[in-house]
């Protein structure tokens, strides 16, 4: 059984961060044949994360979350943007994680914020953090500003990112068009074998 752990650092209930995490989870579950999902809501662990910063050892619930992360085949991590970066709580969770736990682990990074002006936080903050932790970050990160929750566009990015994560995690149940988008064609490919115009027409209309 493939194990997926979803870490969400939203603070309000309900939170848009959790909402995005749920959409990414649903898309990943759909792309995988059999998967066991564990949700880690960092708000519930905030005290224990701080305690571990001070004492060096985790409380029972945090220890269980860390064990789930250790055993996971892949992670979805979602943080709200606070002061131009991931939230302190989100970072602290990874600060107290034992060294080496994320080595080689596929991770889908995602973030939420009030406006799209924060969107590069994925590339400038989350990606370096998980590169440092030796995780394998999937090529597509998903950023959702508040307005994105009303747009069609978010779904296609969610599905593409989830497909990429599923490919790295193991058995994929169906390779749909969204996943195959990650196999990019170059201009040279087009000269060698042009994409049939009917397909260009379909892609142009977004279907």
């Amino acid at each position: 059984m493939t194990k997926l752990v979803v870490i969400s650092a939203g603070l309000s209930v309900p939170s848009s961060t959790r909402l995005l995490a749920d959409r990414l989870t649903a898309a990943t579950v759909e792309a995988l044949e059999e998967v066991e999902v564990t949700h880690v809501e960092l708000r519930d662990l905030a005290h224990q994360v701080t305690d571990q910063l001070l004492t060096g050892f985790p409380g029972a619930e945090l220890a269980a979350a860390q064990e789930a992360v250790r055993a996971a085949d892949g992670l979805i991590v979602v943080t709200p943007v606070f002061s131009a970066s991931y939230s302190g709580l989100f970072k602290s969770f990874f600060d107290v994680l034992e060294t080496g736990v994320l080595d080689g682990k596929p991770v889908l990074v995602a973030a939420t914020a009030g406006t799209a002006r924060h969107s590069l936080v994925l590339e400038h903050a989350l990606r370096p953090l998980f590169a440092y932790l030796h995780a394998v970050v999937v090529p597509t990160g998903v950023f959702a500003a508040t307005e994105d929750f009303a747009a069609h566009d978010l779904d296609s990015r969610v599905v593409r990112a989830a497909g990429e994560l599923a490919l790295l995690m193991g058995k994929v149940s169906r390779v749909d068009s969204a996943v195959s988008v990650s196999v990019r064609r170059t201009t040279q490919d087009e000269f060698a074998e042009p994409t049939p115009f009917e397909q260009l027409l379909r892609q142009a209309s977004g279907r």
């Binding site: 305690d51 910063l53 004492t55 050892f57 409380g59």
Partner: protein, 380 residues
Amino acid sequence: MQFGIFTVGDVTADPTTGRTPSEHERIKATVAIAKKAEEVGLDVFATGEHHNPPFIASNPTATLAYIGAQTERIILSTATTLITTTDPVLIAEDYAKIQHLTDGRVDLMMGRGNTGPVYPWFGKDIRDGINLAVENYALLRRLWDEDVVNWEGKYRTPLQGYTSTPRPLDGVAPFVWHGSIRSPEIAEQAAYYGDGFFHNHIFWPAGHTKQMVDLYRRRFEHYGHGTADQAIVGLGGQFFMRKNSQEAVNEFRPYFDNAPVYGHGPSLEDFTEATPLTVGSPQQVLERTLGFRDYVGDYQRQLFLVDHAGLPLKTVLEQLDLLGELLPELRKGMAEGRPAHVPDAPTHASLVAAAGGAHDSTVHAVDDVTGTTDREEVTA
């Protein structure tokens, strides 16, 4: 089974009065605490070795020798001696000297240090921590066990035909414990030499202790020093007790809440549940302590931390009185169901007996020209 106390010599403000003792007061208090430990019937007093404020625990050998001169019976030990950053030649000399001065009432515990910068302060690199502990101890062992040592290693200058003086008392080196919270290499090291293994067993969940002690016991047997349950295990522990359990909680809470290490973190209740800290009545301390055997097996040495977090000297001495009153019960409880083949902690006397008796291992100087010693010249 030995019972005792260990201190790290922290100079901490008393949160109930805001008053911080001076270094002088704290140093003198440490001596008073050690003398009190002997008075109430404890077997061991151990001091840490820290080289930075707010601690007064540098130069432990002076402290131990001074206490040794004012006590009769108590075993003096360390918790811990920095085998990483201290020249093993100095450790060999210092503790052999204290052995002689105290007629064998000394053993020591090896550790790696309380703070990262202690490495550069002594010209070492923290990334070499384990390697330093391994190489330095290998040299220390030889300096005590062999009269003349030729040695070359990575971390200090070579030694040629070197004799560490004074030679260990009665030809027997002080017993050594190795302390570590969660470095399996140190449990392996203790097992390899058949030395003792000590787990600090304070501030950390019992799971850390169990996993280290299990490994040490398994490897002790592997290296042929005896069965796993004959390995020499020591534990730390921490309590605050009053006759009435609620009184203990009320009095200790401000010290807990503001303590170095764990203060401003988990609640007293959470922490006592997660770690071996017990705050309550003597009966509660007794039961909790006797329960340590449930996860480490029958063991040899129990040391308690009683003098940290700004507790005033008067309170610490009261705690020692209470511990003294509890001692007969603790000893009785620990003896219950203890198999006869589980040994006591080695002492100087037992080590001498195991070595087939005392022998003077004094090394007399050899004349470079004639090849004779002064002793031979006298007897010739």
